[in-house]
Every structure is written in structure tokens, then in C-alpha cells.
Subunit: 347 residues, 2 copies
């Protein structure tokens, strides 16, 4: 089959690789219908996250079960399914608690020896624990299929951030980061009942989506000016919660600067760079909490799925460029240069 | 009157200062019956926290109302009261929410222009918002009076840490720090239903108190050995919650190292030193939350008071040395040299 392989910084290729097969009884082989490129893939693309030359890449996908191992109970060939960005066994204590990302048998798509999502097919370990079935009818609904793909990462990650930010009915929330996760954070905050949602961003295409997703205010300023602008919108206090969806020292500093005393920063931006931006003295004096991390998306899919299916929420607008498998390298370039927000891949 | 004054590092003196008077209608003048020295006072004593020469010091006290301003409704001369370590107006939005430490009119005892607790009397601003009445009979019960003094800081701060650590019935908790706050954290965790409480410490006098307060295990190791020991006690996982009651880079690193994936570190140690010990990458991968800060003790007193009055909890053992006002400088020395755990002052 053909799949995307990363050979080094800025060196993404689509190549012929071995067809995936059922190796363990609990495996499924899945034919990919939709995949996409994640903002976090760009850290590998830019060489900021280490990869071994030849690793696969891509961790968001949905598709159709092609073959199921003899130990798979919940899925059969032909089933339409979505995969979260981490596989998990579904049976350990962490999975039982919903922290599927800490499953001792879990792993990341594209790690050494595993398939990535940006290819024609994927071997899915622990299929019963990992996959979630989708209605077969969705396969013929192009818009819906794209919306459902967001369940594999960005929508669940935005939801995780909103929970970490402590969003409740009536909350005020600020969202740092205008990428797909930040925008899904806006959507998740609105879904959880936030009354006021302040999106920080300056690219109109993105802030337009933020408004469509539920942002009540947009702040285009950066740094200290952003802090002042958010405080001006909130009687000088800041917002009850902040969604931090970038992962840089500066974005964390901004998040801690605009959160109200006693509030929470829900952090889901993959931390990178040397500084953390975490000022414990500021957090201490103001009783600010920091909650979040890698989102246990598998746990959230059953909660979010009905709302996507019935159209209550539609994250599909975060995908603004569609490519075939051959277009994946160009898709990385477009996202790296910020000419595309999030690239949909139809293998 | 006589009160404790800090002139510089290691230069604590008891001096004649002006008698406090009612300056605002909402003031009370309080005659101090019991005060004490806090571990955080030592940062000023050691010169690690800046003080202007001549500032008063001490922020934990209880006593009898001597004079009440015309705007004070809840207190009259003769009332026995306890003061939290921060005053607050009791009327702002933050006070209404229980975050009294963020009251815009609030302040710290011993800040420039205010009295400190380690003296014969204190002018208490916003008395109705700040003070909590105690039963008059407690004044004649020496042991109880000492236990009630813990409500001014260490017991409420330990409780705040336990809440930040997410302690629930059945939780496993570790406590980093064997000072009075850490020990009160043990007590608070047990009160909230923790099933297993692992105290980190190596001074037997302190770990004996920890066991008496509810610790089920004591870990004497430090650094990596402490991590290994706690993990060995918890099936390799770590504890659901950790109380961080020190405030150094090393203690935070230990706290983050021994918390279970998905768990919380409740941090109440006043941050000091140059490094934070916060590794966001570790927190991100393991979904660790950091919650806490300066404890809104005023809010907790009504919750904790009944349990102290009826003897359900008795924090008085944290006070292991009693001095008169003249003995305060020696009390600082004893705590600095760790020959005393916490010094009670009877002016």
C-alpha cells in the first residue's frame, strides 16, 4: 500500500510500504477513508520533535474495517469506524477510569513499527478498546464524514481543554491558539455552556470560524496588549478559564496572564521549546490551576459523537484544504506556511 | 505595646511600638492571646523574601476583641476570635466566591503600615469580613486554644492542599514536606477520607506526628529513592494526589514524580528559589494537574472549626515549643535550625 513517511525535517514522502496484516488476534486492518494533518505533526516536520528517518506519520483517521482478528468482538469487516489518536487496550485500570492515554499497552500511530494514519490502511492494535463504530450511512455523507474525522483528535482535544479550563454554564473563557484545536476548544466551551468566549487570533479566516463556533469576542492583540484587551473585556479580572492550545512559552505566559484569580488553564498544546512560561509565583498568589495534557480522546468520542451526528456541532469547517495521498507533502507545506488551517487527506 | 519587628536577615527584635487604634469604622483592635511563627516567616528571617527594615511580622493569631469600630456589626469587646492570615472585606465578588485571598481590599499582616500577629495587639481591618468568633469557653482551655490557633493558617492551608490534590474518600495521597503545613495536610487528607496517606520525612518526631494525624506509611528516602519508594507502595503507579508543602524546585519535582497519571498536585508551599521544578512535558504526557496557591483560609474556618471544637481533629501537636514575646527571636532560631517544628507565642 501507499503511506506517508517522514525521512527528516521538511522531507515528507508518500511511498510504497508493506500492506498491514492482522498480527495479533485483537488487531483490525482498517482501510482509511479520511485522514488529516495535525498541527503537532508540524513539530516533526520542522525537526522540533525527533523522528527516526522512515517513520510513518499521521494519527487522525477513520475508515472501514477490512479484516478483524479472531479476538475482536466488537467489529466486523465493513464496519465504519473512527480511531482516536492513541490506541489503548480498553481493559486496564486507566482505560476503565477514562485515562486511555495512560494505558500501559497503548501507543501512538506512527511510532516505530506501527502504521500512521496518512496512508491507505492501518493495522489497529486492541481494536475493541480503540475503535468506535460510526453509522454506516455516514460513509455516503461527505460533510458528515469530515466532521466525524474531528473526533479522532481535535474535537476531543478541544473538549479536554475546555474541561481542564473548568468551563461550566455561565463561564467566561479565553482561547489561546487559533489552530484547529483552539477552534474546537471554542466549540467545546460553547457546548459546555460558556456564556462568553474570547478567541485570541488575528487571521480573519480563522477568527471567522471561531465566531461561527461560538466565540463572542475576538482579540487580535498579542503579548501584553492581549492581556490588557482581555482584562478590559472582563472588568479587569480575566476569564474563569483559559484554553491553551499552542504549547509555547509565550502562549502559556499569555494564558496565565489572562486567567481570573481562582481560575484554570486547560493546557493541550504539546509543550515544546526550552521555557515553560509557567510562573509558579503568579499562579500561587492568584490560585491558578493548570489542568490538561494529552487528551484521552477515546473516552470522549461516545459523548461527542451524538452531537456531531445530529448536527448540534459541526467541526468540519476546520478542514480548509483537501488533498489526495500524493498531495500530503504539499499539505504539510501549506500548514507550515499557514496558508491552510488543517488539511484533509482522502487516500 | 510590644511587638516583633524584623530589621533584616536574622535580625528579629521585640520592641515598643505604637498601640493599635481603631482607624476605620470597620476596624477592630484585638488583644493577642496566642500567636505563632510560620515556616514562611523563615523566608523573611533568612533574607530570601524581601522585607523593609522595621516591618512587623507574624500572621497567625487569635485573641479577644478590645475595641470595635462603629461600623463593625459582628463583634463586640470581649469576643474571642481567630484571624486568618489574610484580611478581606467579606463583601467583594471574590470573598463571595470564597477566594478571600484575592479580595481587592485584602492584605497581609505585617505588610508595611499594618500590625503583625507576633505582638500584644493587632488592628484588624474589615473585622466583619476577616474574623471568626470562637466559643468564649475555649479561652480557658489551653490545649483547645492552641488547636484553634492552627485555624489561622496551617490547618486551612493543609486543607487547601488536600482539596488541590483532589483527595476523596478512598484516595491515596502523598505529602511532601514534614513541616506544620505538611502535617496538617496529612490531617486534612484523612478528614476528607483518604484511605492511604504516605508522608515523606525522616525526622522521627515529625513522622510520629504524621502517623498520629493519619499517615499510613512513611517514606524516609529523598530524591529518586523517594520516587522509587512511593511507587513501590502504589503498584508502580504513584498516588492519586500529592500535597506539596515545601515550595522548592526539588520538592515540586518530587511531587510531580510521585503523582499517578491523571492525578493532581495540590501546591501550597510558597514558591521560592529560581527554578520551579515544573516539567510541563511530564505533566502533559501524564495528564497531571497542578492546583493550589495561597489558601483562602477564612473560607475554610467555618468548615473546620466544628471538628476542632469537638476534638475530631486536634492539630495542637504541631506546636512543640512555647515562648513568651521575649522568646520570639529564639523561636525563629529554633525553627531555622529545625530544633523546633512550630513555635507557639503567648504574648
Amino acid at each position: 500500500m501507499r503511506a506517508t513517511v517522514i525521512h527528516g525535517p521538511h522531507d515528507i514522502r508518500v511511498e510504497e510500504v508493506p500492506d498491514p496484516t492482522v498480527q495479533q488476534p485483537t488487531d483490525v486492518v482498517l482501510r482509511v477513508l479520511r485522514a488529516c494533518i495535525c498541527g503537532s505533526d508540524l513539530w516533526a516536520y520542522r525537526g522540533e520533535s525527533a523522528r527516526q528517518p522512515g517513520q510513518r506519520i499521521g494519527h487522525e483517521f477513520l475508515g472501514v474495517v477490512e479484516e478483524a482478528g479472531p479476538g475482536v468482538n466488537g467489529f466486523a469487516p465493513g464496519d465504519l469506524v473512527v480511531a482516536p489518536f492513541v490506541w489503548s487496550d480498553g481493559t486496564c485500570a486507566y482505560c476503565a477510569e477514562g485515562l486511555t492515554t495512560s494505558c500501559p499497552q497503548g501507543g501512538f500511530w506512527g511510532s516505530v513499527g506501527s502504521d500512521g494514519g496518512q496512508g491507505e490502511a492501518v493495522r489497529v492494535p486492541f481494536a475493541d478498546g480503540t475503535l468506535v463504530k460510526l453509522p454506516a450511512a455516514a460513509a455516503s455523507d461527505d460533510r458528515l464524514l469530515t466532521a466525524l474525522l474531528a473526533l479522532s483528535d481535535v474535537l476531543g482535544t478541544g473538549h479536554h481543554a475546555a474541561l481542564g479550563a473548568g468551563v461550566r454554564p455561565g463561564s467566561t473563557v479565553a482561547v489561546v491558539g487559533d489552530g484547529a484545536v483552539g477552534l474546537c476548544g471554542v466549540m467545546a466551551a460553547k457546548r459546555l455552556g460558556a456564556e462568553r468566549i474570547i478567541a485570541l487570533g488575528r487571521h480573519q479566516a480563522r477568527t471567522d470560524i471561531a465566531r461561527a463556533f461560538g466565540a463572542t469576542d475576538v482579540v487580535a492583540e498579542r503579548g501584553d496588549a492581549a492581556l490588557a484587551a482581555v482584562r478590559e473585556l472582563t472588568r479587569g479580572e480575566g476569564t474563569h478559564g483559559v484554553i491553551e492550545a499552542v504549547g509555547t512559552e509565550q502562549s502559556m505566559r499569555t494564558a496565565l496572564g489572562i486567567v481570573r484569580d481562582g481560575g484554570s488553564v486547560g493546557y493541550v498544546g504539546v509543550p515544546h521549546g526550552s521555557g515553560t512560561g509557567v510562573d509558579l509565583g503568579v499562579m500561587f498568589d492568584r490560585n491558578i490551576a493548570l489542568r490538561g495534557g494529552v487528551a484521552p480522546v477515546r473516552t470522549y468520542i461516545p459523548d461527542l459523537l451524538p452531537d456531531v451526528l445530529d448536527g448540534t456541532i459541526d467541526p468540519s469547517p476546520v478542514f480548509d484544504l483537501t488533498v489526495g495521498l500524493d498531495g500530503v507533502p504539499g499539505g504539510y507545506k501549506a500548514m507550515d506556511e499557514r496558508t491552510a488551517l488543517k488539511v484533509l487527506v482522502t487516500p
